[in-house]
Amino acid sequence: MRNIFRGFGAVFYKEALHVRRDAGTLFFSLTMPLLQMFLLGYGVDTNIRQINTVVYNADGRRESRELIDRLKNSDTFHIFSYVQNDHDLNDLIISGKTRVGIKIPVDYSDRLLHNMSAQVLVLIDGSDSSVAGQAINVTTAIGLDESLRRVLKDRADFAVDMRPKLLFNPDSRSPNFFLPGLTAIMLLNVTTFLTAFSIVREKERGTLEQLFVTPVRPYGLLLGKLLPYLGIGFFELCLILTFMRFLFRVPIHGSVFLLALLALPYLFAALSLGILISSKANSQAEAMQLAFLPILPSVFFSGYIFPRETMPAIFKPISYMIPATYFINITRGVILRGATIKHLWTDGLALVVIGTVLLIIAARRFQNKVIMA
């Protein structure tokens, strides 16, 4: 019986036994992602609201108070305090208690009444660019709107009326944005760690060396190790989707079946990565460190948190090598945009290619190197 998958059945069965015996690890690795999900689902909101703002109203008359009310009503600003001089205004921003300082000059109302341009100073703490961006946009819009209303007193309609409409996530709910992406990251964590550990454990124990003295073939061994964890990854996916749909109320617009189907090549790629890691690491501690390596680029370059569009050009090619990039597009595509196989088959294909390449590299390393360790 000379086939390159020799020993697959035996290894698969044994691995399933290991998983069953070590229920603690399994439980831990399945619940950790759920914990992350709770933190991100309940604890993080990317919509910027209620920015702490300090106001120095040197004018104090009706027009200036109306402006402050408009800022408050935008829901973007929360008036933290009123101050009476420039020094206090600056101080509150430097201390970090407020992010935005608004100074209305003493002649604000006078200039408006005389149809002159009135200036309002808006100081913004630029250290958090998303907060700063939102503050700039909203204050500029309010200023523009205020100006137009004064100019167009008698005409009701604007010449050009932009009507933006948010597709797919109309309420801009953060869980809708985060959780589909988080699915990809969590699956990567669990499966990479579990496979890497299962192999490195055998290295430490010496059983891997024993297996290499038997007629088991590298592909039989690796696939036998990989498939049980593919099963676990798949179960994890179902768990995550259930929580996402019914607890966090993220609507799934596309086909769950398609999502499950496309998860297979992703899990395959993640598991192959785990095997590759284990071919390098000789101890569980080393495997732990190495397994963290792919996590960072997967978080930062895959579009999970930061949009890939704004990425510097040199990082673009990296993002194409990361399996999470494709799977995040798949999860967001299916869950939020109702995408079908027609839209996503290229992502699926990319994952198959990445997974195969990783597995071949890993198998070769096992054939040549691990043996000597």
Partner: protein, 327 residues
């Protein structure tokens, strides 16, 4: 190199000029030996001298840097898969799955060798019977004592009925009873025509082997039956003899013995001293000399060199050769 083995039977292992380098370090340096079928071949040497490396080369775990090796008539470089089907290997740390039961370990290794279900069942029954594993079948391997772990590991290595078994330090860290039982088992199996390649640190185990070789930092410096090695001229230099002196005061006796002319070397062995003395040295004179120092002497009798003596002498000689070469 001392080589005194007569080859007449069938060869199980033939190693010709084996070399293994790791970078600039030569772990195995031009090692040649033959193991005949049915032999218990004891492979000895200090830690780090290359014993395990040689096993790994013969089992196909490590590629050869030079030389050639045939196992059961197959070239290990080109036919390693067929070699692996025919051999069993038990590593130093008993490669068992501790979170699987005894029965599960046996089943797993049986399946790895693709034994038919019926044959697997029969073999497991036989192995369990042979090793007395019956009471422990459903126990986790982790819960077994060292001796039982070793029996299970041996059982796993023989499921597929290999004709040649490599045992790397099979008795390291197990109790004396288990050690004795293992050797009894090896003799029984050897009687059925199975060849054993055994590495060990224990000299008493070496004495039990039908064929021993000694590797010293990559070089094979002895190869032969225990008796043929004892008679080597390097071990028993011309004009000398070995005697055993029994005395209750070994440490004091040793101190004086070393000063007596005619005694070339002396070492303590329990309640006696083993000494290499000049042939012309009279045993009664020796006794007189010791008595003069108030040392109670029991018996003084001629002694054949132990294997330990053999390896010590050969090591000295090898070191001297190395130093001469360096100078």
């Amino acid at each position: 190199m001392a080589r005194t083995l007569q080859s007449n039977g069938e060869v199980a292992i033939s190693a010709e000029h084996l070399v293994r380098r790791f970078g600039s370090f030569t772990a195995v340096n031009d090692v040649s030996f033959h193991v005949e079928k049915g032999e218990i071949f004891g492979f000895l040497g200090p830690n780090g001298s290359g014993k395990t490396t040689v096993i790994k080369m013969l089992t196909g775990l490590l590629p050869l840097s030079g030389g050639q090796a045939h196992v059961e008539g197959l070239d290990v470089r080109t036919d390693s898969e067929s070699v692996r089907e025919r051999i069993g290997y038990m590593s130093q740390n008993f490669s068992l799955y501790y979170d699987l039961t005894v029965a599960e370990n046996l089943q797993f290794y049986g399946r790895i060798y693709s034994l038919e279900p019926a044959r697997l069942r029969r073999r497991i029954d036989e192995i369990v019977e042979l090793n007395g594993l019956e009471p422990y079948l459903n126990r986790l391997a982790a819960q077994l004592s060292g001796g039982w772990k070793q029996r299970l590991a041996l059982g796993c290595a023989m499921l597929h009925e290999p004709k040649l078994l490599f045992l790397d330090e099979p008795t390291a860290g197990i109790d004396p009873v288990a050690r004795r039982q293992l050797w009894d088992l090896l003799f029984e199996l050897s009687g059925h025509g199975i060849t054993f390649f055994v590495t060990t640190h224990y000299m008493d185990e070496a004495e039990r082997c039908s064929h021993v070789a000694y590797i010293y930092y990559g070089k094979l410096i002895a190869d032969g039956t225990p008796n043929s090695l004892r008679e080597l001229p390097d071990v028993q230099p011309h004009g000398t003899k070995r005697v055993e002196i029994t005395t209750p005061e070994v440490t004091r006796a040793l101190r004086f013995a070393r000063q007596i002319p005619g005694i070339r070397s002396a070492t303590i062995f329990g309640q006696s001293i083993h000494a290499l003395i000049d042939d012309h040295c009279n045993l009664d004179d020796l006794r007189e000399q010791l008595l003069k120092h108030d040392i109670a002497v029991g018996e003084i009798r001629p002694l054949a060199p132990s294997l330990e003596d053999v390896f010590v002498e050969l090591t000295y000689k090898h070191q001297a050769l190395l130093e001469a070469a360096r100078a």
